[in-house]
Amino acid sequence: MTKIIPNTIFNFLFILFLFGLCGCATYSLNRIPVHSTKYYQVKTKDGRILTLMRIRPRTLKPDPVLLLINSPHLNHFFWNLHPSVDLPKYMARRGWDVWAFTFRSIKESEADKKLYFEDYIFYDLPAVMETVKKMTHTKEIAALGYSFGSTVLTSYLMETKDPFISRAVMVAAPIRYEFPLTDSFYLGLESGVADNVYFNLANIKESVQRDFSETALEPIPEPIIKFYHSLIHTGGLEYDLSSFKIPVLFISGKKDNLASTQNMLFSFHQLGSKDKTFREFGKSNFYKSDYNHYDLILGKDARNEVYPYIAGWLAEHE
């Protein structure tokens, strides 16, 4: 008798241990490991060189492709400033082949002074699309435009009607402006506006904010600033948005002053897409905080609140 009791307990514990081991193993099978990040260089038609970043899951089947288009005043480092705010890896773990890139900038040579908004649409984006097409052999991709990147994406779609992009996510997208504008627009965006206009300081880690200004920010070419100002004062892109037909998700932050909910709703209602969704990230939709412009991607809770919403919508529209 004295021997049986410890044996039963031992057996029970051993079986439990085996169960646990299997459980852990199946769990890790479920998780898609992520390949190390790869970088590519692409030459545009007019001879400029762009850097592309690719993060893909280590799976055998071809993955759906997601192209991240950030604002031209940011580089691709914006997407992985910190492991806690890494949207590409988050998406790659969910089975997406994620691409990001940096638009041409003024750093490289003097010729860049002739940089125009149209260069992004007719040279940069087509070159990126071509590379993605060649490397992934896919017929259609999803695109996510962030901030001014969505303005570029919208213009690209309206100009080229490229069927390669089959669905789009617009995060904090300034597309059209409903007048009257706020003073910070009239005063000039680049001059002396407090941080809390673009960040909800309570919703962002200090280190992330510091890294953002040290690593992710790029100088904005002067013609682009001028173009943006003209956009603001004329009410935004002049395309007939009713011919915008692909499924689209709009994401806005309640506190956002650059791409305010008001202006984004104004643009959203003009879109011709039958399948369109608008989501505002603020307390009135039961999120932890009212999001501002940059914290939609870099916020403390973005990983738990914004990313899952984007991933969910993209999974629904795969």
């Binding site: 706020t182 407090a194 305010s260 008001q262 709703l265 989501r279 307390k283 009135s284 039961f286 009212d290």
Partner: protein, 385 residues
């Protein structure tokens, strides 16, 4: 048979506890009124009578200092509130500031609020408020327990406008409406364009409910039983109870009504103790209809008030709060866009316009810096018109 009559053990004990709790809460409510006193500074109170026999209280703040010589200004509170919204403390008193600037100010309480006629059952729940004087004025009437927004628009507003015009001798006036007080006037002007409203100032007024609706609003209108119970719920005492801890609460109603970070604890407590009034089921049902449909309809759905906003001709100032979740910036912008006024202004109160904070719904008047930021803006606009 006998056993069924025996009450469960400890019943008596439980009941005692409940009675004690009830008494504790009752004294708590009464205590709040002592801890957070208000001292409204109106000079005289008048009563206007509607055609269906309701008495409406009108509080007069005559001009102090140099009179502006401008048409009288009428202040109208919002949903479930009373005139104290405009005169909560000496510092946060828009009515007082206006009268000191030389305006002739008339602050009104719509039916069911302030010292206007109220349902009779409130008599029992607001024992601590009752005085022989109030009883004499028939403030409480057991037959008058239900009313809706159409009553405000069709019965209260014409009487109030006529009353102020008659008392002052002016043929025009400026109307300042917060939230529902502005909605009612916008709807009234849409129905019968009244030239006597010269200036219309709408503070946090939703023109329509934006599409897509927020989860918060959708969730609230799903609480059908709760809304129907609004006949019996005493909202006033509910908020009164939570007044001392109101700065700690971050529930759905708080998100809808103010930006907690932009209000001081004292103001919040006073607001919850004195300003909130009891709900009428008719008004709640009509608000629910508005959230469901997007547009503002009459209670029998025969009239769409939102569709009539283009008839507004008065000089218009729309004031919106960036963090307002009831009258969102785009919702307030809707009336601005729709009105055919020659002279109209839209102002958003948020950090993007250089203000100290992003304003919520009630903090447009009661916010920390509202007396320094919002009041001067509105008064400046009034002086120009």
């Amino acid at each position: 048979m006998k056993s069924t009559l025996i009450l469960p053990a400890g019943w008596l004990n439980m009941n005692k506890k409940r009675i004690l709790l009830f008494l504790f809460l009752l004294t708590g409510c009464a205590a709040n009124r002592v801890i957070y006193p208000v001292s409204p500074s109106y000079e005289k109170i008048y009563f206007a009578k509607t055609e269906d026999g309701w008495q409406l209280a009108v509080y007069h703040y005559p001009p102090k200092g140099v009179p502006q010589g401008k048409p009288p200004v009428v202040l109208c509170h919002g949903l479930n509130q009373n005139y104290l919204f405009w005169d909560l403390t000496p510092e946060w008193s828009f009515a007082r500031v206006l009268s000191e600037k030389g305006f002739d100010v008339w602050s009104v309480s719509l039916r069911g609020s302030g010292r206007s006629t109220k349902p009779g059952w409130a008599q029992f729940l607001e024992l601590n408020q009752l005085s022989p004087e109030l009883l004499e004025q028939h403030q409480y009437d057991i037959r008058k327990f239900n009313w809706n927004m159409d009553d405000y628009i069709l019965k209260d507003l014409p009487v109030l406008i006529d009353f102020v015009k008659q008392k002052t001798g002016y043929s025009t006036l400026s109307w300042i409406g917060h939230s529902m007080g502005g909605m009612a006037m916008a709807a009234y002007l849409g129905l019968n364009p009244d030239p006597s409203i010269e200036n219309l100032i709408l503070i946090g007024v939703p023109g329509k409910i934006n599409d897509p609706k927020t989860d918060l609003l959708q969730d609230i209108i799903k609480q059908e039983p709760l809304l129907k119970m609004s006949l019996f719920i005493n909202t006033r005492n509910l908020t009164n109870l939570t007044a001392p801890i109101s700065d700690q609460l971050h529930g759905p109603l708080q998100i809808l009504s103010y930006n907690t970070q932009n209000m001081t604890k004292e103001i919040l407590a006073r607001f919850n103790t004195h300003v909130i009034e009891n709900t009428s089921p008719g008004v709640v049902t009509q608000m629910k209809l508005m959230v469901q449909k997007g547009d503002f309809y009459s209670s029998d759905q025969s009239r769409n008030y939102t569709a009539q906003y283009h008839k507004i001709q008065a000089h218009l100032l729309c004031v919106a709060g960036k963090l307002d979740n009831l009258a969102t910036p785009s919702s307030a912008h809707f009336i601005y866009n729709a009105a055919s006024s020659q002279d109209k202004t839209y102002r958003l109160f948020g950090v993007a316009n250089g203000y100290s904070a992003d304003y919520g719904h009630n903090d447009l008047i009661l916010g920390k810096k509202a007396p320094e930021e919002v009041y001067p803006y509105i008064i400046g606009w009034l002086e120009q018109h």
